[in-house]
């Protein structure tokens, strides 16, 4: 309420009252949503899968006693057995152990990149959509330029110029190159939300830009963004695999993507090394998208 003095008393009272009402609604919306989610079987299943995946990432030794780095060419491509549930890959490494240990890097890449993308996309998309004019023009053109830069080129540059360890170079590359599509979606949602009556009403009541954006437009513009971001999370995990396929993926990390990329050339002779990490990857993506859908529906008042 820093600009309280600038507002006529009547308006500030209204704004205050509306603020309280808004806060109250948010609280009840959240608790409603939570109640809904707890009853939604899809949400529960997805959440359970995600919890298991996170456990795998944090504490892999809980799931397997085998060492994913212990590889022996003499075991190359042996089929599943009681010792190695998923068999051995070309290098003679235990596929089950590698799949468990691979969860960490893959989840990190997906999650961190999507967070980065969400931040950039929402900020830029809202600014462009809400203010329009030159802000929109500048952001739109920047978006075009970034879209025009091929992923391979951008990724090579970023991956070769940053001195970071682990998943961070890939995360940085994906976040810097992947925000454009979601930003467009945010922008167009904001544009259509901006024209709605309730936004006009809020403006007439004297709400400032920040307030209108945060309170009125953002919640209504978020639905399509959540859809796109949940899909993006999955696709980032598989883009990481594609980067490995092109030879510029994660270095020195065990990840599903890298293992799938390594094994794809021999899929005709050895299905296992592709199938098992792919299944885990698919399950992960599935879980996040389903949870995203469930959350979106729970938060969408129109769906009640």
């Amino acid at each position: 309420m820093s600009d309280q003095n600038a507002l006529p008393p009547a308006d500030s009272v209204v704004a205050l009252a509306e603020g309280e009402a808004g806060a109250g609604r948010a609280r009840s919306l959240a608790s409603d949503a939570w109640r809904d989610l707890r009853k939604n079987p899809i949400a529960i299943i997805s959440a359970v899968i995600i919890v298991i995946l996170v456990l795998m990432a944090v504490w892999p030794s809980l799931f397997t006693g085998a060492d994913p780095a212990a590889c022996d060419l003499s075991r190359s491509l042996q089929p599943p057995s009681s010792e190695a549930w998923f068999g051995y890959n070309l290098q003679g490494c235990d596929i089950y152990a590698r799949t468990i240990y691979g969860a960490k890097a893959s989840l990190q890449v997906g999650l961190y990149s999507v967070i980065g993308v969400a931040v950039i996309a929402i900020v830029l998309g809202m600014l462009a959509g809400y203010y329009g004019g030159w802000a929109d023009a500048v952001i739109a053109r920047v978006t075009d330029i970034v879209l025009g830069i091929p992923l391979l080129l951008g990724a090579i540059v970023i991956l070769s110029s940053v001195e970071l360890d682990g998943v961070w170079p890939v995360v940085l590359a994906l976040a810097l190159l992947g925000w454009t599509s979601p930003a467009r979606i945010v922008r167009s949602s904001v544009i259509s939300a901006k024209g709605q009556d309730y936004v006009q009403a809020a403006r007439m009541l004297g709400a400032n830009d920040k307030r209108i954006m945060m309170r009125h437009i953002a919640p209504n513009a978020m639905a399509p963004v959540i859809v796109v971001l949940t899909i993006a999370l999955g696709s980032f995990i598989s883009v990481e695999a594609t980067l490995s396929f092109l030879g510029i993926g994660l270095k020195g990390e065990i990840s599903w993507g890298a293992d799938i990329a390594d094994a794809t050339g021999r899929v005709r002779n050895a299905l296992g090394p592709v199938l098992f990490p792919s299944t885990f990857l698919a399950l992960t993506v599935l879980a996040f998208i389903m949870l995203g859908d469930a959350v979106r529906e729970a938060f969408d008042p129109k769906l009640r």
Binding site: L73, K251, N269
Partner: protein, 531 residues
């Protein structure tokens, strides 16, 4: 603006492309009856002085007839040359040409055709890829000033036309095997029309060989050649060849299996296991001269102790890698020069290239080896599998942590090396150009080949002296002991660990027979027949 260029701009609006039907892929089939199709990658150039890679070399092998050829025993046989005689202790060579050869456009092949071609290639400002291949000829230095100035002349003083069919070549220093090197691309002739517009010429090169161009080089799609009726040498048994350009050996293999391509020169490693069942006896293997090794950058102090290098070498089970990763499609290397080459020996590396994990571990610990090892390689060459396998073996057998470090392109590795970054061991490959031992030894390990292609930076006076002695020997045979001694220096110092010699793993359709590929990865187009 040609039809294509026009098409691309007209067809910018999306739909038009499909309606107008742009794009040069005319038809899927061959050029006609008696033609065969061979898969290649896009050549970098088709100008003889600039073709340093295998794909362009294959096309030139159809269009040009070299002065000499190598037979199955890798002995040099005269082809376009009538005689090649050394004098003045191998310093001066007199090349007599066979009469009757003409270029496809009717121009007579004369001494000038060769001299002009070689001068063009050796002239620095022309920036030809094979420039350094002329450096043994007297006068090369004058055409290639190192200070960036314009050369005072564009003709090498060592080349002299005696008469229309005789060339006298004076070398800067004696070289007993000079006649053998004359089989490489850079010593091919060029017709005078080539120098009018080299850029246009290399889109439709005119040669002196058994085949002539049929149409232009269709970039990234196809190069078509047809048998040339007026050819005076041995005529091919086929009517022509469509060199179909692929981006990926996997796609070539798939097409041979599907009957859309006649010859795939390299079957991808991942498909070797299927090749026998997919192709039956149409899957062939011949030895190749290609060398794969792991090099140690000289500036990395952790590898300075030779015991470390010996231990790492002994900790690698080359046979297991070849059998598992390559399904037996390559040969474990225990020498630096392919044993197929005249004068070369098996197992010149001795005990250091024999798998001996216990000894390796003891030696590594005794020498105080670091507990992490990195192996760098270019990710675009399909090396990941064997690097990973090597790393796993080092990890198991030396008790170290070993990581493979893929860099996007080979050039990135070069950049890292020139900046003296700690890349660890790195992959090094080599395909020789002609069958002499020094063609492995000089480029990869001599002091003046630093930094390229002697990437490790190995420089040893004794080694260089032995090479020099070998070059000065009276005959090629007489040089063998010196080159062998030079190779023994490598065994002693281990600047590069031999890993594998390649094999040509090729496949062909049921429409062709008599398919052979030589040590230099060249498909024999005179032998191949329609089935």
């Amino acid at each position: 603006m040609g039809k294509r260029a026009l098409c691309a701009f007209v067809s910018m609006p999306l739909a038009a492309a499909v309606l107008v039907g742009c794009g040069g892929g005319d038809d899927g089939g061959g050029s006609g009856e008696g033609f065969i199709s061979v898969g290649i990658g896009e050549p970098k150039s088709l100008l003889v002085t600039s073709v340093g890679e295998t794909e362009g070399h294959q096309v030139l092998s159809a269009l040009y007839t070299p002065l000499v050829r190598y037979n199955d025993n890798l002995e040099t046989e005269l082809e376009a040359a009538a005689s090649i005689e050394p004098s003045e202790a191998n310093k001066v060579w007199t090349i007599k040409l066979k009469d009757g050869y003409t270029f496809h456009n009717g121009e007579k092949v004369t001494a000038d055709s060769y001299i002009n071609s070689w001068n063009y290639g050796a002239y620095g400002p022309n920036a030809q890829d094979l420039n350094s291949y002329y450096n043994k000829i007297d006068g090369y230095a004058a055409l290639n000033p190192t200070d960036g100035s314009t050369p005072p002349t564009d003709r090498m003083s060592g080349l002299e036309k005696v008469d229309d069919l005789t060339i006298k070549v004076t070398l800067a220093s004696p070289y007993a095997a000079f006649d053998t090197t004359l089989g490489y691309t850079n010593f091919l002739p060029l017709p005078s029309v080539a120098f009018d517009d080299t850029a246009a010429f290399q889109n439709s090169p005119i040669g002196n060989g058994p085949f002539k161009m049929k149409g232009n080089w269709e970039h990234d799609q196809q190069i078509s050649v047809e048998a040339w009726d007026a050819y005076t040498g041995t005529k091919p048994k086929i009517k022509g060849v469509d060199f179909k350009i692929y981006q990926d050996a996997g796609a070539q293999y798939n097409d041979v299996v599907g009957g859309n391509l006649d010859v795939v020169k390299t079957i991808p490693t991942a498909q070797i296991g299927n090749a026998k069942s997919d192709l039956g006896d149409r899957f062939g293997q011949t030895p190749s001269g290609s060398f794969q090794g792991l090099a140690f950058p000289v500036y990395q102090k952790e590898f300075e102790d030779v015991r470390i290098r010996q231990a790492i070498s002994m900790a690698i089970d080359r046979t297991a890698i070849v059998d598992t990763i390559f399904q037996g499609s390559q040969t474990p290397a225990t020498s630096w020069v392919s044993p197929q080459f005249p004068g070369a020996r098996e197992n010149s590396c001795g005990e250091w290239c024999q798998f001996n994990p216990t000894e390796a571990k003891t030696l590594y610990t005794a020498a105080g080896g670091k507990d992490t090892i990195q192996i760098s390689y270019n990710a675009d060459g399909g090396h990941k599998e064997w690097i990973d396998a090597t790393c796993n073996q080092l990890a198991t057998n030396l008790g170290v942590t070993c990581t493979g470090n893929p860099v996007p392109k080979f050039a990135d590795l070069l950049t890292s090396l020139s900046k003296k970054e700690a890349v660890g061991l790195f992959r090094q490959g080599w395909i020789p150009d002609y069958p002499t031992m020094d063609n492995y030894l000089e480029p990869l390990y001599s002091c003046n080949a630093i930094p390229q292609p002697n990437y490790s930076g190995f420089c040893d006076e004794n080694f260089d002296d032995l090479l020099k002695k070998g070059f000065g020997a009276e005959t090629a045979e007489a040089s063998f002991p010196d080159f062998q001694a030079a190779e023994d220096v490598l065994a002693e110092k281990l600047p590069v660990l031999p890993m594998r010699f390649g094999r040509n793993n090729f496949g062909y359709s049921d429409k062709v027979k008599n398919v052979t590929i030589d040590l230099f990865y060249e498909l024999d187009l005179l032998a191949i027949e329609n089935a």
